[in-house]
């Protein structure tokens, strides 16, 4: 029987499908959620926690990425576990150890009842190729960043149905994009559901979404390949590796400036000073808290950043 498996951050969705289950990235409901969390640090984890515990999200089990990405998830995930939802904790290796990564993937496969459909690895690899092509399309100014972001962020769970998701990918319009500046969006994804549209309205073409790019960059056709790839998940290791990766992408995508999105009470916020010191680009840091449409304060910052990139020498 196919179960719906909630996932709190990136785990290989191909493995969940190969175990004949359906992943549901619990973060994807957060930006449009109406929940005001009872107690919270980061709103991302607090909102999915309450969505699950109040029975608004229909999942059979939960995989908590508790090491190497989101630290608040470890506690909020345990609250969900205590409410009776079968929960598994997944840890990335900080030192990128392939054996440790392989053991974590095996443990996850066991929790999911074992691999039953290896063909799903290849099916999803093919879809990720399409995702990479789409990503390149916006780099080449032939797709809107808001459309591409929506598609890439959905690679966390492939919207629960790879075949239907492929059709969604095929409908994304190819269109010439006009803009005043090319920007990269680094950090965790914005909790504002309209962020990319608002950026576009100020002439900012987002040509790099750091985290969603990881969703399509990583993959593999068997367990060994998955371990070799996912151990390089940039958010999970030393920040030096992440800086190197970001620099490469900023250069390849010819960006004019960088927007660092930070989430209130997320430990990644502390990385802002490091990025400012190590990235040789104008950097705009913005912060969000509860899921809401973009605030006027955010719009002012985006508009001013766009002006600075365009007007100032």
């Amino acid at each position: 029987m196919t179960d719906t498996v909630g996932i709190t951050a990136l785990i290989p969705p191909e493995l969940v499908y190969a175990c004949r289950h359906r992943p549901l990235d619990v973060n994807n409901v957060v930006p449009t959620s109406s929940i005001n969390p009872r107690s919270k640090l980061c709103a991302w984890t607090a909102v999915w926690r309450d969505e699950i515990m109040e029975g608004r999200m229909d999942i059979d089990s939960l995989v908590v990425v508790a090491g190497g990405d989101c630290h608040n998830a470890l506690v909020d995930g345990q609250k969900v576990a205590l409410s009776g939802v079968p929960t598994h904790y997944f840890f990335y290796p900080f030192d990128r150890d392939p054996d440790y990564m392989a053991s974590q993937l095996k443990g996850l496969a066991r929790f999911l009842g074992g691999i039953k459909d290896k063909e799903m690895f290849r099916t999803i690899s093919g879809l990720k190729e399409k995702g990479l092509a789409l990503d390149q399309l916006r780099v080449d100014d032939r797709a809107r960043a808001s459309d591409v972001f929506s598609a890439l962020i959905s690679f966390g769970d492939l919207q629960g149905d790879p075949a239907a998701f492929e059709e969604v990918l095929d409908t994304i319009p190819h269109t010439d994009v006009e803009y005043s500046s090319r920007v990269a969006l680094i950090g965790v994804p914005p909790i504002y559901p309209d962020f990319h549209e608002v950026a576009e309205s100020f002439g900012l073409h987002v040509v790099y979404d750091e985290l969603p790019y990881e969703f399509v960059r990583l993959g593999g056709n068997d367990m060994q390949a998955l371990a070799g790839s996912y151990r390089n998940y940039s958010f999970s290791g030393p920040i030096t590796g992440r800086i190197e990766m970001i620099r490469q992408e900023l250069d390849r995508r010819r960006v004019d400036g960088v927007i660092h999105y930070t989430q209130f009470a997320c430990h990644h916020t502390l990385e802002d000073e490091i990025f400012r010191a190590h990235l040789d680009y104008p950097v705009l840091t913005v912060q969000g808290d509860l899921p809401r449409p973009s605030s006027e304060q955010l719009k002012l910052r985006l508009e001013a950043f766009s002006e600075m990139l365009e007007v100032m020498p």
Binding site: L284, T285, L300, R301, E307, M308, M312
Partner: protein
């Protein structure tokens, strides 16, 4: 002629430029911004606002009234470019609207071409602009380090906010105010008054707490340019200088620098003016 109109949260400012020279400037409370355009028209009796776009964004009753009024002004056919900035930039008559960040950058460079870091202390927020790498920070979630913080203190003592700087100079020592939260700082002020400090000494402490808050936002730099109406307060400027350790430069008319920057942007749009 190029007009810069800066309608901020607390005050509205106008600057007019002719052939690159400032020919008029004025400051009024924000809600009286209409007077600025009337003032400008009286000052330069032969000009008109012929180029104002009647976009949806400026179709507020006030804006429409201004446009209608100025359209009847006697003209010589010389067009005026109005560039607006500040919180209300999109709801007042404008040919173009720019953010305060860009306006401050352009305005400060008029006086100080090699300026590196600008600190714009506004009524509701404080902006730090690093011109060396085109980056900026805005503090608008906390009143400490904004004009609103000083308004709170002045309100408590029931004195005009403009008098804080003068009272500061009469203090022989400064009361220590540790709190960086504007609201809780009032409680601390009261404690220091109870402890025997005078009003002047508490005001000095408030200025130092304010300066510490702003200093935390500023990157390492030798010279900082302070702008905004709040920096007319000498007590605050002196506190900032002693706490941050950098050389502080305050340009002439620091309150109208953003309006000047907006006018200069208009000149960029229409260089022939």
């Amino acid at each position: 002629m190029n007009t810069g109109l800066d309608v901020g949260s607390t005050t509205a400012k106008i600057v007019r430029l002719e052939s690159g020279i400032i020919t008029a400037s004025k400051v009024v409370p924000s809600h009286r911004w209409k007077e600025l355009l009337e003032y400008g028209n009286k000052w330069d009796t032969v000009e008109t606002i012929a180029t104002v776009e009647t976009t949806e964004a400026i179709q507020t009753p006030e804006a429409t009234e201004i446009i209608q009024a100025t359209e009847t002004t006697e003209t010589t056919g010389t067009a005026e470019t109005i560039v607006s900035t500040g919180y209300f930039r999109k709801t007042v008559p404008h040919t173009a609207a720019i953010t305060e960040i860009t306006a401050a950058s352009l305005g400060v460079r008029y006086y100080i071409p090699d300026a590196q870091v600008i600190v714009d202390v506004g009524g509701q927020d404080t902006k730090v602009i690093d011109l060396r790498n085109n980056t900026f920070l805005i503090n608008d979630k906390c009143s400490a380090g904004t004009g609103a913080f000083l308004e709170l203190a002045a309100h408590y003592f029931d004195i005009p906010v403009e008098s804080l700087g003068k009272l500061h100079t009469r203090a022989s020592r400064c009361a220590r105010i540790n709190n960086t939260c504007g609201v809780f700082a009032i409680s601390e002020m009261i404690s220091q008054l109870v402890g025997g400090y005078t009003m002047e000494e508490v005001i000095c402490g408030i200025h130092q707490a304010f300066a510490r808050r702003i200093a935390q936002m500023i990157p390492p730099v030798e010279t900082v340019v302070l702008i905004g109406g709040t920096v007319l307060n000498q007590g605050l400027v002196e506190s900032f200088e002693s706490i941050h350790g950098s050389t502080v430069v305050v340009p002439p008319s620091p309150q109208t620098v953003n309006a000047l920057g907006a006018a200069l942007y208009g000149k960029k749009l229409r260089p022939e003016q």
